[in-house]
Symmetry: C2
Subunit: 209 residues, 2 copies
């Protein structure tokens, strides 16, 4: 389970603030996650997520002290942008990024929980669909939903996905899942904290693309 | 018809060599063409084409004299890459780029020729489908073809497409089409010359994605 385990997210402090620098370092390893899905069809998703990360990094780089936590970025932008906010800047980029992060989280959690299609135990479509329904579907219009349904056919077999997550090594499913569970602890806490922040700051939007 | 007319392709010399610098300058204006289709769904296509252009430009910039024409780039790469060629470098980027250029050409030609769905004269699906079938379909596996069929529903009305091509101005369809015809003269000659070059150098591949 090297891909994720090599780059664990850090534990959150008690106030649940998310350190921007550490966050950016950890999420930088996630776009290659979409390569694990094994098809070129997922390139646009990888680009979209990479674009979000680049956007947040470019804001951070302007003043690392001022933007030391994700909370600080959002509060500064709220101040700076007025009524344009929150559909702007790093606030918008993180709004979408967190949905992709939630997608990954639910997908991995569902696999770790052993959820499967009993008739097709080596397919992960049920797990992907669950993650999509909960994290993204409501933000997609009917057309993108339709494209999702088509793209689902490009999803890899569970065994190939596990091998890819393990950087090409053959590992036992149980060993891989133990690593996934370990990875999910701090990762889930971080994603939850970001969602909470959007609720607290009233920054969540529900327009669809 | 400003978008295209402002950036006409130059006339080809008798030997049909394509000047790299002029070519790169002219194609740089084409990715925004996909914005004229009016939906975010086309962003991945725009990125793919922009990526091709960037790849060719980066080769050219290494030695503008050596790579003065597209022919010279391909011949140098053939020499340099051995058996990896032609699935490599600017040769690969131009192989795919020319298909996107052909798509645009056939779509515009079909509109200029007045081809339409008599029952839905303000839809351009028939024109897009014709362009896709001739320029791209055979290089796409069933999955991407399926995604294409879904994406087709995001195609704009003809009137909106014409307005977008005219940079938001309301122009008469006939005036716009006259400009399209003018644009297509040198553009089609250039695209044809690139296709011929791939045939002559035996550089065309027919794998699908
Ligand atoms: C030849 C025929 C070709 C036809 C072409 C059809 C192409 C179809 C393209 C499908 C869409 C690709 C996914 C991208 C969708 C994106 O549109 C959305 C919104 O994207 C956000 O939009 C904002 C403005 O509203 C800002 O620009 C954000 O950018 S900003 O940084 O500038 O602020 C940006 O991320 N992101 C999303 O929905 C996020 C997607 C995460 C996906 C997670 C995994 C799903 C996995 C599925 C597995 C089966
Ligand atoms: C949340 C759910 C999300 C699900 C996500 C689904 C996303 C679906 C994505 C669909 C594909 C987008 C189009 C891109 C396709 C590309 O895969 C192909 C080959 O692309 C080439 O591949 C090469 C290697 O083989 C090199 O990397 C080239 O790169 S290199 O420069 O490095 O050498 C690269 O261009 N290009 C193409 O097929 C070209 C496409 C031109 C399109 C022309 C117009 C079509 C218009 C249609 C209008 C209706």
């Amino acid at each position: 389970m090297s891909l994720l385990m090599d780059n664990q997210f850090g534990e959150l402090p008690v106030d649940k603030s998310v350190d921007t620098k550490f966050f950016l370092e950890s999420v930088a390893y996630l776009p290659p996650f979409f390569d694990c899905l094994g098809s070129k069809v997922f390139v646009p998703i990888k680009s979209d997520i990479s674009g979000n990360i680049t956007k947040i990094r470019s804001v951070y780089d302007k003043d690392p002290a001022k933007y030391a936590t994700l909370q600080q970025i959002m509060e500064s932008e709220k101040e700076a942008y007025g009524t344009e906010w929150p559909k702007v800047g790093a606030t918008l980029a993180l709004m979408w990024l967190k949905r992709g992060l939630r997608f990954i989280q639910i997908l991995l959690q569902s696999l770790a929980d052993g959820e499967k299609d009993e008739n097709n135990p080596n397919l992960i479509r049920v797990n992907i669909t669950k993650a999509y329904d909960q994290a993204l579907k409501k933000y997609h219009g009917w057309l993108v939903q339709k494209i999702f349904k088509a793209a689902l056919f490009a999803a890899p077999y569970k065994s190939d996905f596990i091998k890819a997550l393990s950087k090409g090594q053959e590992v036992r499913e149980e060993d891989c899942m133990a690593s996934v569970r370990q990875f999910l602890i701090n990762y889930t806490a971080t994603v939850d904290a970001i969602y909470e922040m959007y609720t607290t700051l009233n920054a969540e939007l529900d327009y669809s693309v």
